[in-house]
């Protein structure tokens, strides 16, 4: 067991896979010589050399297109998009090409690739560098979507993503980069499509993702201590494939559901989960559900405003207690 930050887990995870499989290559802006603007990829250039770890120009379409073309011809490339917001600058290649090509070619073209990107708010970077965009990817058939909340999960889910034969968009939360954890020695390989129950309770199921997981857990402690409400907290981890079984089982047990999303309100993964529940186990519900989200606004930059926008521990506690009346 060694302590590792979420940040450090990224390089650790990439290195584990590059070591294992020489078809794994890694490209992006400022990722090689500089080790990444979030210092997530330091040391990889030195370890694997300039052929396999390479700096690109500011050309997101070229980065993602390169990764796609390489994946269909024998590499297992990883591409970095420095901020998830920049997915918009190459969205055609991601959503229209990468996602659809296996289907359009009836399986002739296979795309074992990973797009890693720094997602999420809380760092006062403003509306164009703080978005939580996992929903964009979730809404596109043909993309797998992963968003870990712990260092161990970064390593394990990144390994699973690299080994997956289909394209994966891997959302790292920049607000979690400093988070630390003891991580098991040796190879770590996790499984996509598996949610994790982080806390067991009987009165309520809270479903959260990425940076919202620690907040949901903290809220659950407060709910127990101050309101006598016992909550299960589920870390979704993977939006596609989605572990609906774990979620539905939990809702059937607790009979109440809250989702905690960092993304803006409309059409988020929370709405999808609520809808699945409303279609498949509405009779298990003992009351209305609640989606706790950022309001449907661009994210503001000022600390005083950003802190109000993104769901906080207090906001979760308040919303849940209000719903549970």
């Amino acid at each position: 067991m060694a302590e590792l930050t979420y940040r450090g887990a990224v390089a650790h995870g990439i290195a584990q896979e590059m070591e294992r499989d020489d078809r794994v290559y890694f490209i992006g802006e400022d990722v090689a010589a500089a080790g990444g603007v979030f210092k997530t990829t330091g040391g990889l250039l030195e370890r694997f050399g300039p052929e396999r770890v390479r700096d690109t120009p500011i050309s997101e379409e070229a980065i993602v297109g390169l990764v796609m073309g390489a994946a269909m011809t024998g590499l297992r490339p990883i591409g970095e998009l420095m901020f998830s917001d920049f997915l918009a600058t190459c969205w055609d290649i991601v959503a229209n090409q990468i996602a659809k090509t296996r289907y359009m070619t009836d399986g002739q073209v296979e795309l074992p690739l990973v797009l890693r990107t720094a997602n999420g708010g809380g760092l006062r970077f403003g509306a164009q560098h703080s978005q939580s965009l996992e929903n964009w990817a979730m809404a596109i058939p043909g993309l797998k979507v992963v968003a870990p909340s712990t260092p161990t999960d970064v390593v394990g889910l990144l390994a699973a993503s690299v080994r997956d034969p289909d394209p994966v968009v891997f959302f790292e939360h920049k607000g979690l980069y400093a988070a630390k954890e003891d991580v098991p020695e040796g190879e770590i390989v996790d499984e996509l499509g598996t949610a994790k129950i982080r806390r067991e309770g009987d009165d309520l199921t809270i479903v959260a993702l990425a940076a919202m997981v620690p907040r949901a857990l903290e809220a659950a402690e407060l709910l127990a201590a101050e309101h006598g409400i016992s909550a299960t907290v589920i870390d979704v981890r993977s939006l596609v494939p989605l572990d609906t079984r774990t979620i539905l089982d939990s809702v059937r047990h607790t009979t109440r559901l809250a989702t905690v999303e960092e993304n803006p309100r409309l059409c988020g993964w929370g709405a999808e989960i609520v809808s699945i529940v409303a279609e498949e186990c509405i009779w298990s519900l003992d009351g209305p559900v609640v989606r706790i989200t950022t309001p449907h606004i661009p994210l503001p930059s000022a600390s005083a405003l950003e802190d109000l926008a993104i769901p906080s521990v207090n906001k979760i506690v308040e919303s849940v207690t209000k719903m549970m009346v």
Partner: protein, 336 residues
């Protein structure tokens, strides 16, 4: 037109020339048949024919190594077939049949035959340039000396992906050949009306440190020499080429388009420069007999006849095909 690197190249083999002729004829016959079938409503949707532009696809088809890769557009029947993809499967695909090249999933705009190195037809302008560069990156990384060839139109030179792909390919010296088929029009709008330079590709080569290469896309021999040279340079590690091949569509942009926005005299002048007619004259001059040519022509026509019959006999895709091949496991499940 000038500036081809191939000017000083040795003469072209008779066999190669006949192969190009046969290929051009097949592409022509296939697409004419497809057009007829569209008109008879045997084919639904849309289609973008390369009638008149066959020399480019055919020359590259003959010049490329079998493990090289082709990336093309919605106007990609010719490029796909020129690599050896099954005409029956291509026709079946146009007809929405289950035995089509992509099982009816892709349709006319997405013909693909990976086993022949036809790595897909991309229907959003510009997207496949960086993707082709990616295949070239993989060849470079793995040291295989494969080359990616990427065909696109004049209109594609004005979209951002063109710029990003060219810059990156040139910087990394990737083994990719970018072939701009300048047919003077982006859909219905003359390319000159929307482009800041007269030669949309050749006048931009220097922005990527590349030499301008401007060739007559209706001259199969010139295309072949240009192709060979660019492929050789790519294989030798000398990096990408950007070729502008000037050509012309015989018909409209797509099924629905009669092409009436093109001045009559322009159309007439270009019809005189049909690549197949010209090549036939050349081959006769070079001593190929009328009989031999007629034989090749009959062969191409019969091949298309056969493909058409086989495609017509192919079954429709079954309903369980709908949710297949989203993922490697063969299915489309996004949840447990």
């Amino acid at each position: 037109m000038t500036q081809t690197r191939g000017d000083a190249a040795p003469d072209i083999d008779r066999g190669v020339r006949l192969a190009m002729y046969r290929s051009m004829l097949e592409l022509r016959e296939f697409e004419q048949r497809a057009y007829d079938m569209f008109m008879q409503d045997l084919i639904a949707g849309t289609s973008h024919l390369a009638l008149g532009q066959e020399a480019i696809a055919a020359a590259f088809g003959v010049a490329m190594r079998s493990d090289d890769w082709t990336f093309c557009t919605y106007r990609g029947h010719a490029h796909t077939l020129a690599r050896g993809a099954s005409m029956t499967a291509a026709m079946a695909e146009l007809m929405g049949r289950g035995k089509g090249l992509t099982g009816g999933k892709g349709g006319s705009m997405h013909l693909t035959s990976v086993e022949h190195g036809a790595m897909g037809s991309y229907a959003i302008v510009g997207a496949h340039l960086p993707i082709a560069a990616g295949a070239a990156w993989s060849a470079q990384a793995r040291g295989t000396e494969q080359v990616a060839v990427c065909f696109f139109g004049d209109g594609a030179t004005n979209i951002g992906a063109f710029h990003e792909a060219l810059n990156l390919a040139a910087t990394w010296k990737l083994p990719v050949v970018f072939v701009c088929e300048n047919n003077l029009y982006m859909e219905y709008t003359p390319i000159s009306a929307v482009t800041a330079v007269p030669r949309p590709a050749a006048d931009r080569a220097s922005a990527y440190g590349l030499d301008p290469i401007l060739v007559d896309g209706n001259d199969a021999d010139e295309m072949y020499r240009t192709a060979l040279d660019a492929l050789m340079r790519a294989r030798a590690g000398e990096g990408p080429s950007l070729i502008e091949a000037v050509t012309y569509r015989k018909g409209g942009h797509s099924r629905a388009d009669p092409g009436t926005y093109r001045p009559k005299e322009e159309v007439a002048a270009w019809m005189e420069r049909d690549p197949i007619d010209r090549y036939r004259v050349l081959l006769l001059e070079l001593g190929v007999s009328e009989n031999e040519l007629a034989e090749i022509e009959r062969g191409a026509r019969e091949a298309v006849d056969l493909a058409t019959e086989e495609a017509k006999a192919a079954p429709l895709p079954g309903p369980d095909e709908l949710e297949r091949q989203v993922w490697r496991d063969g299915g489309a499940a996004w949840r447990n």
